[in-house]
Amino acid sequence: MPRSLRDIDWTMLALLLFLLVAGVFTIYSASTTKIGNDYITEDFYLRQLIWIGIGLILVYLTLRISYSFFEFFILPGYLVSILLLVLVLFLPEIKGSHRWIALGPFNLQPSELAKITTMLLLSKIISKPNTGDWELLFKSFFVTIIPVVLIMLEPDLGTSLTFWVILFSLLAISDLPIYFLILILSPILSVVTSFFSIFLFIFFLIILIYILYRTRLSLIIIGLGAFFNIIIFFITPLIWNALRGYQQNRILSFIDPTRDPFGAGYQIIQSRIAIGSGGFTGKGFLLGTQKNLNFLPEHHTDFIFSVIGEELGFLGCVVLLLLLFFFLYRIACNLEKLKRKETKLITAGVLAFLTFQIFVNIAINLGIMPTTGIPLPFISYGGSSLLINMFAVGLVLKFVNEQSIFK
């Protein structure tokens, strides 16, 4: 079924292209080294160009193909991703974890595929009419927890957190009563406060009960919620103390890798030195000196922002942030415009995970958040995440385009 592409959001597409081109240049610089007067460049930028080409074709196809076609593949796609996530655990390690499936010259990252399929399935579940709140909550939680557990086993904390962000943003966008969201978040806060002080917890509990009371929830639900949180508060230290020292350390390092100065801690400091030494104007394209210190090989992937910071300085960083901001702003504007429930949910999910990944990646590079291994969307080298992100953007462009047609 041919469709008009007249009403496409050209601004958004242009911003996307800007970001991709900026990415290729940065990858080029990140994989260039200088020996004496010779410059040597690895071919990552060429491969990224190929990925971008494939990605643009994917965007075009997404715009052309009817959504009912995609809809048909949502459940099978989800199941295939789960299967791949199980499979990847049994394959040999690549770079120290079970994140990739080696396919000839390329490494496929099934968690990226699972990200989009889970999001599409969640949108379908949540947008289904006449679903009770509890049923909806239970189903969407179930759909999310499976890939999350599998990805935690790889282990890849960063990507598994992305799934929670997607779930929460979809639930937040849906008209699920606000107290559900508060109830979902409250146990996390209880666990956190249990490591600080009981007064903090009591303070938190009073606020929780007050908010729930104001939403006119039945006293039974409020009581259950409070009781559940109290149990969590008291049980957390018990579980924690039952763990052996090395187990505690392992969990702490999982949450905060900087505790290991010889691993992630060293990377973060080096990233901070690189970005900090860039100053206001930077050292100039290709002229960075810190990028070749031994905290490679994440330079062209997770730590690519540090190369921009070092070579293009504060000015470069701000330009990139503006590009990224306007791109996200554009998606947010489109989100407002969209009317159909499912398209709105999907767009919200795309916006949420892109925002999350951009924020977390840059925050890690700046050393204000623990490292978790998240690439910078559209900029970092990596086929799997680039294709999935471009497909996601393609969906948003498609929804906007089609909405105008049927207006």
Binding site: I35, I269, G276, N294, G309, Y329, E336, K344, A348
Partner: protein, 582 residues
């Protein structure tokens, strides 16, 4: 209920807040702290340094050195500091033993490791150092480091050697603390016990400013001490090893191995010709390499575990035990009259002695090594059973000694004969030949040694091992040997022992040349026909008893003649010497 999903309007606000946080953090890092980080970056103050552990040394059973570490001066280059690449390559290739192409290739291979020292030349002689020292200042990318290099105190095949890590090994092991400059065990004990010998890398983060004060960028401790490698104490006796090397016949190839029957430890392990492993550990020259690789006598071949030969008459023990086990004969059974040979089918098979042995029972047949007795016995045994019993007595599988590259033995089956000699091959002839250990059957000297050890040790076969104990942080861990009981009944073992005793200690026995006064030697000679020459390989295998079973041994000499005249006297000398020094 109509859902309008109106909460989406908050999204722009949330995104704005997040980007505001990022902008503040970037501002903080680049504008406020920019100068501080510029200084750190410029001087490269923050560096990660690997502290290489000291490789464990190897000693003999009386703590005398076999493989030790020696200080050596190595030349490193840091690619990121190269000013003029061509001038540097010229300087190095002119002054050190490395070609320009090699340096170029090394630089190209490591072009993405700019700030890591790259090992260029190892073990630079002192006089060479003095000559180039003053020119070194022109090349800030070059550094000299005093490090350890491996030295092996004598030629041997069991220590193996270390060498620089290759690309394949590095790719596989880089997560386990190996760098592009690492030395790694390539063969022998060095490879087998690599993980114990290596130890664990230490790490240190250097974080100092211009005046030497700590920058305190890291909260936690920034030094992780290395764990040095464990020391290996072998069962080997250096003195015995030296004696065997001294009396080993000149210009002969062969293997001599002695096993201590109480522990299973290998006391002496000699394969000749041999080579100096130090050559490999310290960078072998192209000429030395060519000489070793193209050596017609194959000095690199470890004949103890990699040389496979027909076991000749030493194999008669196994056939005799098989005949007795399957009740084909008893100790009194006398087989065909030996008149210097016998007819089987339409072929006449000769005994090794022309005048013949007459009618013999099993003990005397072993004592005199009469072939005819075994020819006759072989006609009652199937090929499959013969192969099966040989395998059960561990003469075919690897012994599992703690070394790399051990070879299996070989015993042909019917399929093998058909594949090699056609569908209608007759196997009676080959089987007759196999019964006296000639023909297609192949075993290693070590397998034979262990088999005879088990005969002497009441059927208990002990897996041979070179390692006696490891010492790690003053804690000594004894090697735990594994044993197996061979499927030979006690009364049969007694007969085997009796015949081995007679072969050495009674007149006209084949191994009398090894007879000693204060220690009882049990042994069997062998002379293996082979395609390497007209003269047979000489075997003498057996064990000694001093109150209880003491040593097992194999003396094997390629194309040296008869076991009784060539190999047996050597055994006697070595055992006598060992009893003097122990």
């Amino acid at each position: 209920m109509f859902k309008k999903y109106s909460r989406s309007r908050y999204s722009i606000g949330i995104i704005s807040i997040l980007f505001f946080i990022l902008t503040i953090a970037i501002f903080n890092l680049q504008i406020i702290a920019g100068e501080k980080y510029s200084r750190i970056a410029e001087k490269n103050y923050v560096r990660l340094k690997t502290i290489t552990p000291i490789r464990g040394e190897i000693y003999d059973n009386k703590y005398r050195p076999i493989a030790v570490n020696e200080p050596a001066i190595n030349l490193y280059v840091e690619l990121g500091k190269i000013i003029d690449k061509d001038r540097l390559i010229l300087f190095i290739s002119e002054n050190f033993e490395i070609t320009a192409e090699k340096i170029e290739a090394l630089i190209h291979k490591n072009r993405f490791r700019l700030y890591q020292d790259l090992l260029l030349v190892q073990n630079i002689p002192y006089d060479q150092l003095v000559r180039v020292a003053e020119h070194m200042n022109h090349f800030p990318s070059l550094t000299l480091k005093t490090e350890n290099i491996r030295q092996y105190l004598y030629n041997n095949h069991f220590t193996g050697y270390v060498g620089r890590i290759n690309d394949k090994e590095h790719e596989k092991l880089q997560d386990q603390g190996y760098s592009i400059n690492s030395m790694i065990g390539k063969t022998g004990l060095e490879k087998y016990y690599e993980s114990q010998l290596k130890g664990k890398n230490g790490l240190e983060i250097l974080q100092v400013d211009a005046s030497g004060r700590s920058l305190e960028l890291f909260k936690e401790s920034v030094v992780k001490n290395p764990v040095n490698g464990s020391t290996l104490i072998l069962a080997i006796d250096n003195e015995l090893q030296a004696y065997i090397n001294r009396i080993f016949p000149e210009n002969r190839n062969g293997a001599i191995v002695f096993q201590d029957l109480k522990t299973g430890g290998i006391l002496a392990y000699v394969s000749r010709p041999d080579f100096d492993p130090t050559l490999f550990a310290q960078g072998i020259s192209a000429t030395d390499w060519d000489k070793l690789i193209n050596d017609p006598n194959k000095a690199m071949l470890d004949r103890v575990i990699q040389g496979t030969y027909p076991p000749a008459s030493t194999y008669k023990l196994l056939i005799a035990a098989l005949g007795l086990t399957d009740n084909l004969i008893d100790k009194k059974t006398k087989l065909t009259y030996c008149d210097g040979g016998m007819n089987i089918g339409n072929r006449y098979f000769k005994c090794w002695i022309k005048k013949g042995h007459g009618k013999l029972s099993v003990v005397d047949a072993i004592k005199y090594s009469c072939d005819v007795f075994f020819y006759d016995l072989s006609t009652r045994i199937s090929l499959e059973r013969m192969g099966e019993f040989t395998r059960q007595n561990l003469l075919l599988d690897k012994t599992g000694i703690d070394l790399i590259g051990e070879r299996k033995g070989f015993f042909p089956d019917l399929k093998w004969y058909k594949d090699n000699y056609g569908k209608y091959v007759g196997i009676i002839g080959p089987k007759v030949n196999l019964s006296i250990g000639q023909g297609e059957i192949l075993t290693t000297p070590l397998q034979i040694c262990c088999f005879f050890g088990a005969l002497g040790n009441d059927g208990v076969w002990t897996r041979p091992h070179l390692l006696a104990k490891t010492i790690k942080d003053k804690e000594t861990i004894e090697f735990q040997p594994t044993t197996m009981r061979l499927p030979i009944a006690e009364d049969i073992l007694a007969l085997m022992q009796e015949s081995l005793y007679k072969a050495v200690n009674e007149s006209y026995g084949t191994g009398t040349a090894s007879k000693l006064n204060n220690v009882t030697v049990y042994g069997k000679t062998g002379s293996a026909e082979n395609h390497m020459g007209k003269i047979t390989h000489a075997w003498f295998a057996g064990y000694t008893v001093r109150d209880e079973p003491d040593l097992a041994f194999t003396i094997f000499l390629e194309n040296a003649g008869h076991g009784g005249s060539v190999a047996a006297p050597l055994a006697g000398k070595i055992i006598k010497y060992y009893n003097k020094i122990r």
